[in-house]
Structure formats: C-alpha cells, structure tokens
Amino acid sequence: MQTFHGMTPLIDHLNALAGGLFIVAALGIVATRQVRACLKFFIFQSISLAASAFLLGARPFSVHLMAVGVINLVTKVIFLPWLLGRLVREEVYTRREINQVLSIPASLLLALLLTVAAYFFCLPWLKAAHIMGAPRINLPVGLAGLLLGAYTLANRREAVPQLLGLLAMENGAFFAGIAIAPDLPLIAEVALAFDLLVFIFVVGVLTRAVHERVGTTAVGALNSLREEGHQ
C-alpha cells in the first residue's frame, strides 16, 4: 500500500474524522425542522470542510489548500450568517418546518441509503485512479454530501433550508475537490469564492423579495406558474 505524499497516519485519521463530521452535519441539515438549527449544521459542515483542507494541506504544505480552507471559513462561516441575518427577518429563522415532503425518520433512512450508495459509486473510480490516501475518504464523503444536499432541496420547502441545501451540495463537491484537485489554479479558487459570495447575496435578496411580496418563505408551496399538464 503506497502512502500518499507525506501523509502521516495521524493526519489520515484526523481527516477521516473530519469526513465523518461532514456527513453528520449533512444528515443534520436533512433531519432538523428549525431553520436556525439547519444553519448551524451547515456552518458545522463548512468548518469540517475547512478542517479537512487544512489537514490535507499541512504536509506537504500547500498554499492552495490553505487558501481553500480560509476562503471557506470566511464565506460560509462568517459572511453567510451575517448576510442572511441582515437580509432575512428574524421570524424566518425561528420557524419550524412541519410540512416536509417526507417524515424525518423516512428522510434519515433514505439519506443513509444515499450515503452508502455514494460509497459504492466511488469504488470503481478509486480503483481506476490507483490512488490511496486522501481521495479514498474525501471522494465518497464528497459525493454523499452532494447527494444529501440534493435530497435536502427535494424535501425542504422553506427558502433558507433550500439555499443551505444548494450550498451543502457545493460543499460536497469541494470536499471531494480538495483531495482530487488540490492544485486547482489559485485564480479558479478566488473566482469560485467570488461566485459564492455573489450567489449568497443574490439568493438572500431574492428570499427577502419573496418574503415581502408573497408573505411567506415556503417557496415549495408556490405554484401559480404550473399550467401545462395540470388542466
């Protein structure tokens, strides 16, 4: 079994821990009703992502991965809650979402199945890449994050959890990315961060507009535009 660059078993184990926490946070976003708790799970997930980036970038030292970690902390842990706090009214956070599409136990069961499926999806890719080390953990965890985020989108009807679902999907892609594409050009990282900031801002503005115009942020219940096939 070849070792991956200068990765030590300790870092490997810590990275696995970060991956585990990442999945737990993704499950938390699926399973909590309250919007604020959802946001907390998302922040927790972003911190695990940054931790994994710092661990993988520690030895050999990688400016790229350190930058990814810092960018993540700044955009998702500091900027996002601050901006949402300014744009979205307090009342939205304390709302409990009762009317999810599936019940929470069913959701969690499905989410677990998705996580296991993600692992098996990744096996042939890992085999084809002949790589041990970081991608062995980060790729399946990242794919699971992507799938769980998509499931959140399908299951939640509130605007903020849907936004968090989208961001959790991107977190999933990034979690895999720090292992499989650690030397992405720095300009791409900066562009990604910029894109993320604008995206968060735009969706925040949109959420506020929906809240003001429609009087609710239960975007899943909006259906004034369906016409074809429902006549």
Binding site: P124, W125, K127, A128, A129, P135, G142, L143, L146, G149, A150, L153, A159, Q162, L166, M169, E170, G172, A173, A176, G177, I180, A181, D183, L184, P185, I187, A188, A191, L192, F194, D195, V198, F199, V202, V203, V205, L206, A209, V210, R213, V214, V219, L222, N223, S224, L225, E227, E228, G229, Q231
Partner: protein
Amino acid sequence: MILLAIVTIPLAVAVLSAFFRSQRLASAMTFMAAVAILGLSAGAALNVITSPNHLLVAIPHWLALDALSAVILLLVAVVNLTAALFSMGYMHFRDPGGVRRYYLNYNLFVFSMLLVPLIQEPSLVWVAVELTTVFSVLLVGFEDTQEALEAAWKYVVLTIMGAAIALFGFLMLYWAARQADVPHHTWSGLLAVAPQMSPVLLKAAFVFILVGLGAKIGLVPLHTWLPDAHSQAPTPVCALLSGVETTTVLYVILRLLPVVSQAPAIHAHTWILAFGLISVGTAAFLLINVRDYKRLFAFSTVEHMGIIMAAAGLGGASAHAAAMLQIIAHSFTKSFCFYTAGGLLLEMRTRDISSVRGLIRREPFTASALLLGGLAIAGAPPFALFLSEFSVLRAGLNRGQYLAAGLLVIFIAIAFSAIMNHISRMVFGPDEGGGSLRSGSLPLSCKITLIIAAIPVIVLGIYIPGALQKLIALAAAVIGG
C-alpha cells in the same frame, strides 16, 4: 487585446450604470457598448477565419478564441445589441431605481456570457457558467410579482443544483487530466491528453457535467424551470436567456465532446443523442397545451436545444455543421420571437394566447412579425431553421441512424403543427368580444429592434455569407468529425 476589450466593456458599463443616476445615460451607454462589442467580436471572428491556425490568443492558456467559441461570441454580441435596443423602449416607463438595477444586472449578465466562450481553463468556465445564472436571477425576478419571484426561485434552485453536480464533474475531469499529466489544464490540453485519461474517470466526469449543465440548458427532465423563467423575465432578458444563454452552456458540452469521444467505451454521442431526443419529444407534446405565448416560445427553446444535442450526438462532420447552423439560426430566430412577444405584451397587456385573436386586423405590424417569427421558429421553409433541421435529418439518414431521424421527424412535425396552430389563431382567428382589451402602443426603439432582428431571420434561410459558412465549417471541425 481585442478579447480583453470585449470582456472589459460590459464590466465597465455595469459599474458606470450603477454610479450614474441618469437612466437615459445608462441605456445609451449599454447600447453603444453593445455596438462596440459586436464590432470587436466580428473583427475577432474574421481574425480567426483568416489566421493560419484559426486561433486568436489573448492570454496564453487562459483567454483565447477559436472557431467554435467565435460562433458563440458572435451570437451573444448580436442578441446583446438587439436586446439593448429593445430595452430602451421597454424600460422607458419604469422607476429610475429599477432601471439602474436593471442595467447593472444586464451588463453583468452579458459580461458573464461573453466570458464562457473565451475562457480556456475548464474550471473557470464553470465559474463563468454559474455567474450567468447568478447575474440573471434578479433580472428574471425583476417585475417583482409573485409569478416572477417564483420563476426566479425555481430558476436559481434548479440551475445551481445542476451547477453543483457539474462542479463535481469538472473536479473529476481535473483529476483524470492530472493523472494523465496534462501540462496545462485547458480545453486544448485536455484534448491532447484525452487518450491517456482513465476512461472510467472521464466517463464519470462527463455524465456529471452533462446532467449538471443539462439543467441549465433546459434538457428534460430538469427543464421545468425554463418556461417559467424564460416567460416571466422582462422581454430583452427573455431574448438573451432563450436566444443565447442556453446555447452558451450547450457550447461547454460541445467543447467536451471531442475529448470524451476519444474513449469509445464512454459512448458520449449516444448519451447526447438520447438526452436530445427525450427533450425534443417532451417539448413537442408540451407545446400542444400551452396557454401563454411567451411560454410557447420558451418550450420551443427546450425543443431546439434537444434538436441541437441530437444533431451533435449523431456525429460526423455534416451533422456537426448542421448543429452549428441550428445554433446560429435558433439564436436569431428565438430572440426575434421574444421581441415580438414583448411587443405584443406591451400592446395587448396579456400573455394569454386565447385572449389574442384576429391580431392582423388590429395590429398589422406586430401580427406580421408574429407570423414571421412563428413560421421561422417552427422550421417552415425557406427559413434557416428549416435548412438546418433538414441537414440534421439528412446527416442522420447518411449515418444509418434511422430510428433517431424518424423520431426527430415526428417530434418536429408535432411541434410545428402545435406552434402554428397557436400562432395562426392569434393572428387570423375570429375576434370575438375583442376590443375590450386595452391596447398600448409600441415604442419606436422596439419597432426598430423588430425590423433589425428580422433581417438575419429572413436572410439566413436564403443566403449564408461565405465568411459565416467558413466559420461554421471550422467550428464543426473543432467539435470533431
């Protein structure tokens, strides 16, 4: 230098229109910028045609233009020009704050669309594609009605979800290329190392990118946001969204096609063909029941994106050339259709098909435009889309893809009759109890736009300039024979 100027102009105008309070100035600047961008793009495209290696490089490995990207660049530039002109009249009676926000977002949106074909590094192309969504969301929700906001929400959720899936694909692509020791992670670098890439990884990357970007192109089953967003946005934005934004994203798939088709085990062409056919078929049947004429044109975009994908999936130089012609003809025709629909909306104040009857007697100018646009977009001869659809079918028969060609004929015929059924009733139908509808007038700039936008729609079916033919052939060669 030209390429750098092309992308900096809209960015500069966006910043300026945010600073200056005059809405007249903002619209004039946007229009002049559009003229400049079109001039520069045409110059750059000519440069590509005449230069020996058919390449125009601004920053090596980052910013360059080849024949395929030149086609997309030109289309964005042309539709941007007509949309800027149409915006002048369309935005005239809005409140100044709204107009300023509109032009800020509008120019940023154009900026992001111009970036996509020019950038050479795939992960940055992904960023540019996501920026096209991010900058256009507030334009889709611009009218600030419940419907518009709902459309904007669906738009952002589904396309960003697709973008996240595509991002996973782009990162896997990067992984596969890195293992093959790609010297520069650019489109041409990928093409060079494609034979050394692991087919398993490449296939996974391709499927993620196809599904993810498919949401943005409007491919079934992730198309549900498209008719909402493309019908609720202000008309000039509809023209940009339907006419060029979808095509700009489709371009990324076309870019990837020669890379993935080097590994036959991936069956990339079959994937694209299947996705395309499903979209054409679904859209054709959905067209029958539409009640809103802007949605009619939006569903027709799904149909045409499907035809372009199917054409690219048939494979071979002639099918690829047909796909390029279809891309060009669709952009011109669809933007013209949306200008017509926008004019109609200004006059009739309704989007309901059944409320518009006997238009030819009330508004002969708009009625003729609607008839022209309907015939052209449905693919009637002698318009360019007839030509390109015919070439697609011929290419399919030549390649022995009888099933695909047969299905395409059936779906295109259904879509044709559905579109013409709606349009002919609106134009010629008996005017029962009409006249109760308030009739507005069409601003001058909108009339001029309709006339200018009609020119390529009419001309391209009869005569394709030599330079454009050369560009189409070169672009088809880039996609691969």
